[in-house]
């Protein structure tokens, strides 16, 4: 068995330092975001209290896209430099990204029922987010369908790279097509069209999701590293 892990001790040392902070940030930001989002922020003048689901829904969608971009970047590292850490980080990120996508879809449907009168419409935004879920699924299925993990990893990485074409489509789908989904109100050139009292919890929740991602990513990656070390050790016996 060839040496598949470059310097696990270094990764463990770094993450030992980061993990507690990241976990603490996750807890604090979730608490602060949920409190400000659910209690102190004002209800929307059209949608009332139902819009509070935005603080769950919007950051989840952002993270779903962000995690895919991260996955594509790690796939590039895997293919170009054959770096084992990139491989492990990519594999660890996939389920988290899929989770964020599912969360975004589920909360979106729940929000859609009182606002649009339906759980689901086949418009560009919803469909493209659903397709994002299938991209994650395809990556995982392709990786698992090879009997040799190295081969599966390379095939899946290629797929993840080609899948990047869908990211701008998902991002742009609200502006390019007339859909029920409202356009983004934060990342506009003219500045966010959202009141600071609603913006704060939104950003707090986004931070909470981000640090949640980092923490779970580190935990999953550490597990994977240990599993591989065990695998090598068993192989040497």
């Amino acid at each position: 068995m060839k040496h598949i892990w470059a310097r696990p001790s270094f990764f463990f040392k770094i993450t030992d330092l980061f993990l507690p902070f990241s976990l603490i940030f996750t807890v604090i930001l979730f608490a602060a975001g949920l409190y400000t989002g659910l209690f102190t922020s004002p209800p929307d003048y059209q949608q009332g209290d139902a819009m509070r689901i935005m603080y769950i829904h919007v950051p989840a969608s952002w993270m779903a896209l962000f995690v895919y971009a991260f996955l594509a970047l790690m796939s590039l590292f895997t293919l170009v430099w054959r770096h084992p850490l990139a491989e492990i980080l990519a594999l660890s990120a996939v389920p988290i990204g899929a989770l964020f996508t599912i969360l975004s879809l589920a909360t979106g449907s729940l929000w859609g029922k009182p606002m649009w009168g339906t759980y689901w419409v086949w418009d560009a935004r919803l469909t493209s987010v659903l397709v994002l879920l299938f991209l994650y699924g395809g990556y995982w299925a392709l990786y698992k369908s090879y009997s040799h993990p190295d081969q599966g990893m390379r095939a899946a990485s290629l797929l993840a790279l080609v899948g990047v074409v869908n990211l701008p489509i998902i991002k742009g789908s609200v502006e390019w097509w007339n859909t029920l989904h409202q356009p983004a109100s934060l990342t506009k050139l003219a500045g966010p069209s959202i009141h600071p009292s609603m913006l704060t919890p939104l950003l707090l929740m986004a931070g909470a999701y981000f640090f949640y991602f980092i923490s779970v990513l580190i935990l999953r990656a550490r597990t994977e590293v240990s599993r591989r070390k065990l695998f090598v050790w068993e192989g040497m016996k």
């Binding site: 397709v131 299938f134 599966g152 080609v162 869908n166 489509i169």
Partner: protein, 216 residues
């Protein structure tokens, strides 16, 4: 090189015929299922033609690749001095000639059955013509990625269908704009750029996949 590809595709006439007849028969079945109202048919026909074009390429391309891999041709490609992407490109070219063009022609030929107007048929054929290279390239990529995978051909739709989403969205927005009598040149430009981008990406990724598939 493209000559060789054309020759092999001609030799596989039977599978070409079966994929084209799949296209036609599926189109008939779907229109039968939809019922004979002109309104429903004409509004759904472009979407049906596009989806069936996608499915036809998805099923036929990997099949052709698998035969070549079985014959040991892919190893040969890697040994040659010309880059493997050239081989993939010529494969794509031959497919456009022998599957794409007949498919577009059949689509246009069948349009009277779906009560499509002439402009609709022209835009549909043009959008298919622009989008087909990307479909073919994606099919090649899917075939190469799953060449050594367990249960390979079952995976291909899961892998490749999500990637065809931008093509489908832009093509159908073209159709909608034409039907409303609006200017659809912007969507045409977008479709062209997405199609070119997908061709470049999947041929590039495909030549890597070819190397991985052969070297293991």
């Amino acid at each position: 090189m493209i000559h060789r590809e054309i020759r092999t595709l001609r030799l596989q006439g039977a599978s070409l015929f079966s994929s084209l007849s799949f296209f036609v028969l599926a189109l008939f079945c779907l229109s039968l299922a939809l019922g004979p109202q002109d309104k429903i048919l004409s509004s759904s026909a472009p979407a049906l033609v596009w989806i069936l074009a996608i499915l036809t390429t998805l099923f036929s391309t990997p099949h052709l690749l698998k035969n070549e891999a079985k014959a040991g041709l892919l190893d040969e490609v890697l040994l040659q001095p010309s880059p493997p992407s050239l081989y993939l490109l010529s494969k794509m070219g031959a497919e456009i000639l022998f599957i794409g063009l007949p498919l577009i022609f059949l689509g246009a030929l069948l349009s009277p059955f779906f009560a499509l107007s002439r402009e609709d048929v022209i835009t549909l054929s043009a959008s298919l013509l622009i989008g087909f290279p990307a479909l073919s390239a994606l099919g090649i990529l899917g075939g190469l990625l799953t060449l050594n995978a367990r249960g390979g051909s079952l995976l291909i739709p899961l892998l490749i269908l999500p990637l065809t989403l931008p093509l489908l969205l832009f093509a159908l927005s073209i159709m909608e704009l034409t039907r409303l009598g609006l200017d659809s040149s912007a969507s045409f430009c977008l479709l062209t750029s997405v199609s070119l981008l997908l061709v470049i990406l999947s041929i590039g990724a495909g030549s890597w996949a070819l190397r991985f598939a052969v070297e293991g």
